[in-house]
Subunit: 199 residues, 2 copies
């Protein structure tokens, strides 16, 4: 690694800590900052600090929120009889991008993982149950990740929620649209076969 002036070396170091940024990208960004106007850099640092200072969690669904309730929980047009359960706030992004789900969310902030010592009591499950009391809830969609932990969390929640008489569904796992069967791994392929539908 060539030597950099200390503040530049420090910025490269800090930028490298961001997800998906390696040494080369960090250097490129650092040199960009060096050339950028002071106003641009101030806007970036203000945005960074504001995210930490002005955002908290929604009191209802634990999504990220700039107020007591998040964008979805305070939107009167969302369908209050459907809740989609996700592991993390950023998992809401791909679901919203589809524009096909109009219900509310519930963010668990994690998944059950005995290996990392995370049990159901560490997740925001109690709050989910409280939302169901005296509600006319029709469906809980379990959209935890298709991983061992996400699957374990889904199974746990299904067992917990079904006795309450609420319809519990799980997002489908299968071959991604536009991909080729050749590239599917064994587990995905068998899930895809298992979940086959009549045409």
């Amino acid at each position: 690694m060539p030597d950099f002036a200390e503040p530049l070396a420090r910025l490269i170091q800090e930028v490298k800590r961001l997800p998906g940024i390696g040494q080369k990208s960090a250097q490129r960004i650092a040199f960009h900052i060096l050339r950028a106007s002071r106003e641009d850099v101030d806007r970036l640092t203000t945005a960074l600090v504001d995210v930490k200072e002005k955002l908290g969690l929604c009191a209802i669904c634990n999504n990220i929120s700039d107020g007591e309730k998040c964008l979805y929980c305070r939107d009167p047009h969302r369908d209050r009889r459907r809740i989609c359960v996700v592991e993390e706030p950023h998992n809401i992004v791909p679901i919203e991008t589809t524009r096909t789900f109009e219900g509310l969310y519930h963010v668990l902030h994690g998944s059950i993982s005995p290996l990392r010592g995370i049990g159901p009591e560490q997740l925001r499950i109690k709050q989910l149950l409280e939302r169901l009391v005296d509600s006319d809830m029709e469906e809980i969609i379990l959209a935890t990740n298709p991983t061992v932990e996400g699957e374990a969390t889904a199974v746990y929640l299904a067992r917990l929620l079904k006795p309450l008489g609420i319809k519990v569904t799980r997002i489908a796992m299968g071959i991604p649209v536009g991909s080729d069967l050749e590239y599917a791994d064994e587990v995905t392929m068998s899930k895809s076969l298992e979940n086959r539908r009549e045409m």
Copy 2:
């Protein structure tokens, strides 16, 4: 695009302005910041501001510097009889990475580009000439980019410097090591043939 709480949307917007960062990377980074500790975010913002506040240009070679002279100009072990001319400070990085050049640098801060209205007088060329006065300079290596502008700048500098009796060289253009001839473009291939060496 799904809706984000305002501070988060703003951070994504600002991060997207960085080079090489698209919407998805920006989202990923923004959610990372959201989860990061306040100390980590403060270290990043301090590093960003420090780069703008604590760095200037070397009085000799115009490289980025945290003092009057840059790391290379103040290093007594560098060979003062060789100067490598580059367009931008970040162009020094790949050269230093080779660990084969032990001379000094000169940063032009741009290249001749009639299309963008940049002529020789806008570049730090006068400063380069001043460095040659009463010096025992042996070689000026022109390491401007292998683009139309970089090439024009190299030709201009060669014409200016050769009459002073200094050896002027240009970095070689050719097929990248480890690549395949099949992927070489026409211009690179012809440069590679033109610069062939006896074995």
